[in-house]
Amino acid sequence: MRGSRRYHIEVAVLRVLRPLGIAFFVLITLFPFYYMVLLSMREISEVIENPAQVFIPLADLSSAAYERVLKPTSEGGEGFVRFLINSAMVGLGTVIVTLVVSILGAYAVSRLEFFGKRSVHFLFLSVYLFPPILLAIPLFVAFSKLQLRGELWVLVIVYIAQTLPICVYMLRNYFETVPVSLEEAAEVDGATRLQIIRKITLPLAVPAIAATGLFVFMIAWNEFLFALLFLVEERQNWTVSLGVSQLTNIETPATTLMAGSVILTVPIIVLFLFAERLMTEGLTRGAEKG
């Protein structure tokens, strides 16, 4: 049975196909990133002359596109240093507020029975059901009416609302793996609920909280739609994502666009490599059961 012809053929074919398949996937995922970095360091005239060239001698690489992107507008650049600071501030603001609020929420959802717990789940689901573009309309109208639309902190509020539910979900998944017995012991010793969270639950959950925070930072850093809608008229408040998207006019060469894209992508990939394992486990923990 085990020696059947079909069995041997399949095993042999798969033995060859498997490394090929893995190589295929690595190639299709990595090549665009490689091409992005490569183009950002070439001269645009050379790219137009020879677009298919994917190996460039090190001596021919140039950093001119990066200089152009990073230099302030007053010196003829695109002013990306400013955008990097804006994105970092928006990201950090979102992370701090979202974490504080979602830690409390996730604790409640994972540990306590309270009236309306089920409807809270439904409420969070609704954030994912409604198209962001649907939310964008009333928020755009409201903040225009209040004349606050170009403010960075308004964007932070929008991002907090967008990331809170996923944070509560990820942290709840983690809290459920922390044994309740420790908390019960503290409770017997007379600790209050907030003391328990601060002294027992939080220290145990530090890695999960860090991973969730990085995840939120990545969402805020990558976000495009709301940044475009709210900030496009306020150049000094642009985030990096928005700044790159505005590099597409005729005078900007593709090499500059790619340099901007590299500057936008590198911080995210570094953060991701830093916390990949924790972040992905927090996301998929619920899925393993079924």
Partner: protein, 330 residues
């Protein structure tokens, strides 16, 4: 420590039930207090705006008037919805959205499933490969959309350079600005919606890591005994996949399909950045945006967006009807 954890001798029954009562009430109060900041943010920034968008969709509001706008006042009219039903642009966008979401979702799941099966068993460098395969999903959409745009460009794009130099194409293909192209295979010409196909490919490429991640997690949680038993009984690898592995994955695949469909259906960034909604790739989300910004028509944009939400609500109800029962049993 252990001594403290031991349950004290049971007090008489009535007082114990009272203690449990107050305990439950205290928990309930604490739970509500702790969850309320989250609920308040979501209600103020999501629920109320959605309700307001519903109202806006029944009003004639142009962006220039919003300074003077009275939030709930104004006349109510069906004009926005009327306009949509009779607009061929809207129907085209609805059709494109459907094609984009269905094929984008299928593409992402098929790629993700293949990748997960390939990476499933350990090999040297597996952790690294897993990390690399997640990159399209974590990288900023603005950056990767522009890389694709440059790769596919007719003037300086890598794909067209390879196509014309190596594969012998007559002329470069404007992948993202050609609404309809023809492929000739064995003398038969087939019309292809080039740009729409490209944005679908992009969506599948960008989202397959999400499917990959969840399917891989499920595969690794699956018990090995079943497969070993099947192998012992002489099942070939493809038979094992079809009869043992795939059935275990159906639950997670259905979940991914729903989530990916919703997110692809809602997607704005990808198409806006790749084609700007041109060349036959206009979807509902980009139409909402152009009603809101280019045409200043808040009412019409809200109507399109409400239509999107309604479609998703119906689909979600259908999903819950079919899969919700099963979840409750587990």
């Amino acid at each position: 420590m252990a001594a403290q954890l031991e349950i004290p001798a049971p007090p008489p029954a009535p007082s114990r039930s009272r203690a449990r009562d107050t305990r439950a009430r205290r928990d309930s109060r604490a739970g509500l207090a702790l969850v309320s900041p989250t609920v308040i943010v979501v209600v103020v920034m999501v629920v109320l705006p959605v309700l307001w968008a519903l109202i806006l969709s029944f009003q004639r509001i142009r962006l220039l008037q919003i300074r003077r706008l009275d939030i709930l006042g104004g006349e109510y009219t069906l004009r926005n919805y009327d306009l949509l039903i009779n607009s061929s642009d809207f129907l085209d966008a609805a059709k494109n959205t459907l094609l984009y979401s269905v094929f984008g979702t299928i593409g992402a799941i098929v790629l993700g499933l293949c990748a997960a099966l390939l990476v499933r068993r350990s090999f040297r460098g597996r952790g690294l490969v897993r990390g690399v395969l997640l990159l399209p999903w974590v990288a900023p959409v603005v950056a990767i959309a522009f890389v694709w745009q440059v790769l596919l460009s007719p003037q300086l794009g890598f794909v067209n350079a390879v196509g014309t130099n190596v594969l012998g194409w007559d002329s470069p293909i404007p992948f993202l600005s050609q609404e309809e192209g023809t492929i000739t295979i064995a003398g038969i010409s087939i019309g292809v919606p080039t740009a729409l196909l490209m944005v679908i490919l992009f969506e599948a490429w960008k989202s397959f890591p999400f499917a990959f991640l969840f399917i891989l997690a499920r595969l690794q949680a699956a018990p090995a005994e079943l497969e070993e038993a099947a192998m012992m009984d002489g099942a070939t690898p493809t038979q094992t996949f079809r009869h043992i592995i795939l059935p275990q994955l159906m639950g997670v695949i259905a979940l991914i399909a729903v989530l990916r469909f919703i997110w692809t259906f809602n997607a704005f960034d990808e198409i806006y950045l790749l084609t700007g909604g041109g060349a036959g790739t206009e979807v509902l989300a980009t139409q909402v945006y152009s009603f809101l910004t280019a045409r200043n028509d808040v009412g019409a944009s809200a109507a399109v967006a409400m239509f999107m939400a309604a479609v998703l609500a119906v689909l979600l109800l259908v999903y819950l009807k079919f899969f919700g029962e099963r979840d409750r049993m587990q």
